[in-house]
Symmetry: C2
């Protein structure tokens, strides 16, 4: 089952020529889930993976840079005659906000299901769950944890044969949990294997809830609005420095930390260096980059630069200088 | 005095990779006036001429694709500590719309002056005027005419000498309207010369008010949402075809017609061919192109492609195929 994160926009607060406002598209099998929807998200999608028919949308909080693209996206779905209902999840306040915004922008004809989440809620999906994580930002604000169901343990065919089972249907039955000719599943199956886990911090000061939620996650997407020389300003505004995000990732023993929500105040290369000095597994996606997340036994998460494999020449070390590239700015 | 039109976004309804939603920046001397502000306008500006401190903003109407970029733009001005008040002009309904939108997006700290215009209003500026033109679209909708004051006639130094005046201060005094040694200004000055005139149609079916307002204008920016094979659909939706815009431009004897508000339904090359068959002076700007408008005695309006003179290789005939170019998509 494919599982990946597509970075639709990686700027914070104000867009730049190269970075759009916050949005991340999670793709798992056929599901397409958008986390945040900054102004311009619809055009970022049109310019990259296409204006995919989203399964659902989650907002982390209600600061303008994280949701102002939603009314336009909904209007465009409407123009394109979307019929399928769309669920939008966010902290309390969503209904008032979106109702007000759509009073100005105009209604849409498909059904909108606006769901205000509470800490402790867990949304069950086919093979995975999504849960809000209260974070430390001005106003109601969530991060989100997305975690797959446990998978059955690894089957040991040699042990099965040793215990007297034969290749074929017997192998299938015991793997599905049946006791076959006295052989119990736990005798030939390893321990259940954890599913994959991703945590998205949203905007937040470094916080314990994210650290706990992110424990041993495959990917933590954490905001990094400031460099370390502005850590006071980060604290005042309830944001994080890249170094703080890295320290949290190290404590949480995550496999990969993806920094985002970059400000124009700091060169991305500085944030990278400050974070990697603390946690080596830090990546700094650009718009349209993807993180592919294989099952752990098949390898670690990989940052795939936009344009790689498409004949464009993109260097891995180029994140710092941010050369002109690809079909968007 | 410089006078130009910068095309911030030239798509209609839905943005594409290459075209943002509607916005035109009029530049005259130090004035920077934005007409419409589709979603993504702030990023289009950041990606091209910079996020200039706008003098004022005019909206043609309240369909979502024409104004959804305004709340984000205002929030960004606020983040950048704008102090100067900003006036926003639009048809009646502006105050309710923008108040509602800012209730959702959050307030700004600089003063917003929301002005609902009525047909017949004329805003006097330093050396020019701006007036709304009622047009034929769903809901209240204006085009705008921007026209400079008349300039004094051309001074004829030979005639002045013949009538007995001498080079120097006497020339200046008679040109400023003074009778000098019995010589009256009208004896040595040609007739007053018209200022430059630009008309922006906004979204509209072809309409008489625009035709009259655009009479002998230097540039008419007219929407061209449809090709001629969809003229019925254009009429139903109160839009225009490229050919209708061209016919109107020909009747109005404009110097240059700039088509915009392109839909993805039709290749731009088709719209170009249909319009030029009727009115040769038709141009089809791409995002970030500029129309420079000199005083008529110095030449005709010129479409300057983005990147021209910047070392990028852009062909004039390339409008049709729309090759990848420039710093934005």
């Amino acid at each position: 089952m494919d599982f990946s994160l597509f970075f639709v926009g990686t700027a914070g607060s104000i867009p730049t020529a190269r970075r759009g406002l916050p949005a991340v598209l999670l793709r798992r099998g056929g599901d397409r889930i958008l986390f945040d929807c900054g102004e311009g998200t619809q055009r970022q999608l049109v310019s990259s993976v296409g204006l995919t028919e989203l399964t659902e949308v989650f907002l982390t909080h209600f600061h303008a840079d994280h949701w102002l693209g939603l009314p336009g996206l909904l209007k465009t779905f409407d123009l394109r005659a979307r019929e399928r209902p769309l669920a939008i999840y966010a902290p309390p306040g969503l209904r008032e906000l979106l109702t007000t915004a759509l009073r100005a922008a105009g209604r849409v004809r498909f059904e909108l299901d606006m769901v205000e989440l509470e800490p402790g809620d867990v949304l069950e999906r086919d093979g995975y769950r999504i849960a809000p994580v209260p974070v430390n930002h001005r106003g109601p604000a969530f991060g989100y944890v997305i975690y797959e169901d446990e998978r059955p343990g690894q089957f040991d065919p040699h042990e099965a044969v040793r215990l007297g089972l034969t290749h074929g249907p017997e192998f299938g039955r015991v793997q599905r949990g049946e006791t076959v000719r006295g052989v119990r599943p736990e005798q030939v199956m390893g321990p259940p294997r954890p599913g994959r886990k991703v945590v998205i911090s949203g905007d937040t000061a470094p916080c314990e809830t994210v650290r706990i939620a992110a424990h041993r996650s495959d990917v933590l997407i954490h905001e990094a609005t400031f460099a370390q020389d502005e850590r006071d300003r980060a604290a005042e505004t309830f944001h994080s420095t890249a170094a703080q995000a890295a320290a949290l990732a190290r404590e949480a023993e995550v496999t990969m930390l993806a920094l985002t929500h970059f400000s124009t105040r700091h060169p991305v290369a500085l944030l990278r260096d400050e974070a990697r000095a603390i946690f080596r597994g830090t990546v700094l996606p650009r718009d349209f980059d993807t993180i592919e997340i294989p099952f752990p036994e098949r390898g670690e998460p990989q940052l795939v630069r936009w344009g790689e494999g498409r004949g464009l020449d993109v260097e891995d070390g180029a994140a710092a200088s941010e050369p002109l590239r690809g079909p968007t700015s």
